[in-house]
């Protein structure tokens, strides 16, 4: 198994990961977002809490996600995040940009074998 990659090493990707997770799973609290990303990526992507919360608040500031206080499944008071309409559009933009970038990088790598 490759050593895990801390997401704050790849500036910008955390936005994409958060948006995609919320798009797929609906309303989630911060802890659930981080565990989700970690599990889906087979523990490869480890979201540092020190990066996650700043990112959540920043993205919320941009209007891509919204938050409200609610109850977790274990009945704890938690802050729940969900995707906004703007966020949904932004997700497409971010996703395309990521695809373009990886495609470009792959091309370069494949070209020179």
């Amino acid at each position: 198994m490759p050593s895990s990659l801390r997401t704050d090493n790849l500036q910008g990707t955390i936005d994409l990961l958060v948006l995609k997770t919320l798009a797929a799973r609906g309303t989630l609290h911060g802890y659930a977002i981080s565990t989700n990303i970690q599990q889906i990526s087979d523990d490869f992507l480890r979201v540092e809490e020190g990066s996650l919360y700043p990112a959540l608040h920043r993205i919320e500031g941009l209007g891509w996600i919204s938050s409200k206080w609610g109850k977790s499944s274990t009945n704890r008071r938690v802050k729940l995040y969900s995707l906004t309409a703007v966020g949904r559009q932004q997700l497409e933009v971010e996703q395309k940009r990521w695809n373009d970038l990886t495609l470009a990088v792959r091309k370069v790598l494949e070209c020179y074998g």
């Binding site: 910008g12 802890y31 659930a32 500031g61 802050k79």
Partner: protein
């Protein structure tokens, strides 16, 4: 400190909110661990450990809300500084040249601030007005003392004070000296709002005949001539051979810009003072009543003068007054030259902005890769624009700092080279100038940074591989054409001024100015009471000076042309009913020969023309042509008015050439001369033609004067050439300055063109290579680059000509015998521009010619 302060601003509710959110995270984690079989307290510890540094997370999230702005700005600055340091050569070049241009602007602005903007140092200076008398021929005549008393009753004026300025002889001291005397009414200093630093000012009781003879000194005179001695109060000074008790010293801050008076006396001591309504010896200073406008004052005073003209038709017919704002009197003729210089400096600054913008755009294209990567890594478009703008601002502000240093130097230079333009003002690096410099730097930064930054923003929106150069390419072209246009405007303005200077300098003043020394003196009234004694003393002085070694000849004249002095008289011709006003001068026999004014007809005055012999006069050619066209003027009798009723008949005995009275570009007016013997006068200007350099003879000439009158003060020792030069010093000064600006503009535009074409050649190396490979000749390459360059230059020239023909209108008042649309000037300027532009094109074109097809293709 800043952080702490900002933290206190951190909203408590949000703080609680964030705390709750993070602790819920830890508890959720603990729940999970507990579910896996860990004891609760251990689970919480483990959850905390895994969470890492809670405080750090708190901090970072907080910072996000609070410091996104500040932090990203600081980051931009750091990043910008790093970039600028890396490209040291580029940065240095831009900062230094921008600094030069900003410095020039700062220096010129400081002049503008000092001359045009800084108010007079009095309370409510915009309420102060100056009142002149007017006649049919003059709008700056004096006012009679009796008329002024009537004007004082005007409701629109809160106070009026008579004033006049004349040099006074200071005697009874070791070396007889001269001070400039201000003769003012008792209300004068009160109207200005000036309180003496020591003692008192002039009071109304000083004005009464038989009242105390007093005087008040300017601070600088007190400091420089009396060593700031307080004991000078109460001392008696011999001014114009009359004892005046010093009663006050004016404050240091009192440096009036509209008068150079140094010692102040009651107006009744003015030698030309007369209470007679027929004499108009004084001007007046006044303060508008609260709420009154200058227009109201004009209307009211006009009404009073009309009434007086009806009441006293003999003395007051056609007499009126003109009211001018004092600030206007102070600025006067300096306004246009200062505005022209400011406009020139701003043109150069704008040009430099366009220049740097072009450079940054070229570099911006080279940074495409970097921008695209930064963008893909999450930097938003707005952030990129801000980043690039920050870099530009850093550049501009560094330029501003250099500019600050240079501005200081520039101010010193302006002080040294243009004392006339500055008058008594002192340009300095004060708060206004500093604010201007800061604003100019920031604005230039935004101006030259905005286009490249927005270009980068657009580019960020495009993808990595896209070429996306068309928009910025068009902008670059427009910027270069714009630079050519601005350079052309400046060149045209400079060209028109050069033509004017040339035209003015080619005018003959009417006398031979070379090797002539002049100086002024005034015989003391009490010692030389009779006219006959005055005249014989003047003639004796002229004779003694004429005998000084290396002096060719010497003569005297009342008001020397170009000296600023002037006399006018009213006369009547037998066949013309209406009185005529003509320029007038008393002279000594031999003046025309000494000054080099040609005698065209008849004879000069001689020693035979005495007080009791037939009255004679000499006139100039314009006098003869205008009043006696086609007929002989010699032998004609004219009657010269002497006050209200009397007249003196004189016969014209000769005609001399026209002499320009004040400036070379003036029209020739009728002039009439009489001999000092027949119209004696205490004041005289000595005119000395020498055999070599005239200035070293000044002392031996003064000694010759003192051999006639030991106590005689002599002043204004100047050469006639200097006076003629001085008469168009503003014009020469703005011409030279604008010429420098234009040269700078030309250089910058050439650099802009060169930069753009070089960049284009580099960018298109492969294209050029392919063309070469398929058979294009090097000459084709040359043609191609030249065609691009010439298209831009031509567009710039056409735009510039359109702009210049619109803008040079504002120069009209400074031009002489050149219309603002003189085709020859435009053609010459366009030609110069084309030559310089071709030079700028040559180097990139040569590079294009030498493109090696193989090397070029391999690059791809």
């Amino acid at each position: 400190m800043l952080r702490l302060k900002l933290r206190s601003l951190w909203n408590r509710r949000l703080e609680q909110d964030l705390d709750d959110e993070l602790s819920s995270h830890i508890e959720l984690k603990a729940d999970e661990l507990e579910g896996g079989g860990m004891p609760r307290d251990e689970a919480i510890r483990e959850a905390r450990r895994q969470f890492g540094n809670v405080t750090l997370a708190l901090e970072r999230t907080r910072d996000l809300h609070l410091f996104t702005g500040v932090a990203s700005f600081l980051q931009d600055v750091r990043y910008g500084l790093r970039r600028l340091r890396r490209e040291r050569a580029f940065t240095t070049a831009v900062v230094l040249t921008l600094g030069l241009v900003i410095g020039v602007n700062g220096a010129i602005f400081s002049v503008m601030e000092a001359v045009l903007l800084r108010p007079l140092p009095f309370p409510q200076p915009d309420r102060l007005v100056e009142i002149y008398g007017t006649t049919k021929d003059s709008d700056r005549d004096g006012i009679s003392v009796a008329d002024l008393e009537e004007l004082t009753a005007a409701h629109s004026l809160a106070g009026t004070a008579a004033e006049q300025v004349q040099s006074v002889n200071l005697t009874g001291v070791e070396e007889p000296g001269r001070l400039i005397g201000g003769f003012v009414a008792g209300s004068y200093f009160e109207i200005l709002g000036v309180t003496p630093a020591l003692g008192r000012g002039i009071r109304s009781e000083d004005e009464k005949p038989g009242g105390p003879s007093v005087c008040v000194l300017n601070y600088t005179v007190w400091r420089d001539q009396f060593g700031s001695d307080k004991g000078v109060l109460g001392r008696s000074l011999m001014l114009n051979n009359e004892a005046h008790t010093v009663v006050g010293i004016l404050p240091e801050s009192f440096r009036p810009r509209y008068t150079n008076a140094e010692v102040w006396m009651p107006v009744r001591h003015y030698p030309g003072y007369s209470p007679d309504r027929a004499h108009t010896p004084v001007f007046a200073l006044a303060r508008l009543s609260p709420g009154a406008t200058i227009e109201q004052a004009r209307a009211e005073l006009d009404g009073i003068m009309l009434r007086l003209a009806k009441e006293y038709p003999n003395s007051n017919r056609d007499r009126g007054v003109a009211v001018h704002a004092l600030t206007e009197v102070v600025v006067g003729a300096r306004r246009m030259p200062v505005l022209v210089l400011s406009a020139g400096a701003i043109c150069v600054l704008l040009l430099r902005c366009a220049n740097i913008a072009g450079l940054l755009l070229s570099k911006g294209s080279g940074r495409k890769q970097e921008i695209a990567i930064r963008n893909s890594l999450g930097a938003g478009k707005g952030r990129l624009v801000r980043q690039l703008l920050t870099e530009s601002l850093l550049l501009a502000m560094s330029g501003g700092v250099v500019g600050l240093a240079l501005a200081n130097f520039g101010i010193e230079m302006l002080r040294a080279t243009s004392p006339d333009l500055l008058g008594l003002t002192e340009p300095q690096l004060n708060t206004s100038v500093l604010i201007y410099l800061a604003a100019a730097s920031i604005l230039t930064g935004i101006l030259f940074g905005l286009a490249p930054a927005l270009g980068a923003g657009r580019q960020a929106a495009a993808s990595l591989r896209q070429r996306g150069r068309t928009a910025s390419h068009r902008l670059q072209n427009a910027l270069v054409a714009g630079q050519v246009a601005v350079a052309l405007v400046l060149l045209t303005a400079a060209g028109l001024l050069v033509a004017s200077v040339h035209n003015v300098a080619a005018i003959h003043p009417g006398f031979q100015a070379e090797r002539v020394l002049t100086m002024e003196y005034r015989l003391a009234r009490d010692r030389y009471a009779t006219g006959a004694y005055q005249a014989s003393t003047h003639f004796q002085i002229a004779a003694r000076v004429g005998a000084v070694p290396r002096v060719e000849s010497a003569a005297i004249i009342g008001a020397l042309p170009f000296s600023g002095n002037a006399n006018r008289i009213v006369l009547a011709l037998n066949d013309r009913p209406e009185p005529l006003t003509v320029d007038y001068n008393p002279v000594s026999p031999g003046y025309f020969k000494t000054a080099g004014v040609p005698l065209l007809q008849g004879r000069d005055f001689s020693s035979a023309d005495r007080a009791n012999s037939r009255g004679v006069a000499v006139v100039n050619r314009t006098f003869a042509d205008r009043f006696r066209p086609g007929r002989d003027v010699v032998g004609l009798q004219v009657r010269i008015s002497t006050g209200a009723v009397g007249f003196t008949p004189v016969t014209i005995i000769g005609v001399v050439g026209n002499v320009k009275p004040r400036a070379l570009d003036e029209m020739s007016e009728p002039q009439l001369y009489r001999s000092y013997a027949q119209d004696p006068y205490a004041f005289a200007t000595l005119v000395v033609r020498t055999k070599g350099n005239p200035l070293p003879l000044a002392n031996s000439i003064k000694r010759a004067i003192w051999s006639v009158e030991r106590q005689q003060s002599v002043w204004k020792v100047r050469t006639l050439e200097y006076l003629v030069d001085r008469s168009y010093s503003y014009l020469r000064y703005i011409t030279w300055t604008l010429l420098w600006f234009a040269a700078l503009a030309l250089l910058l535009a050439a650099i802009g063109l060169y930069g753009l074409l070089s960049y284009a050649v580099t960018q298109r190396t492969s294209e050029l290579g392919i063309r070469m490979a398929i058979g294009a000749s090097p000459a084709d390459m040359l043609r191609k680059v030249f065609r691009d360059g010439l298209v831009l230059t031509t567009i710039g020239i056409i735009t510039g000509i359109a702009g210049a023909s619109g803008l040079t209108r504002f120069l009209r008042s400074q031009l002489f015998e050149v219309t603002p649309t003189e085709p020859a000037v435009y053609a010459a300027v366009a030609f110069v521009l084309l030559i310089v532009a071709s030079l700028a094109m040559w180097f990139p074109a040569r590079r294009a010619m030498r493109v090696d097809p193989m090397v070029a293709l391999r690059q791809e």
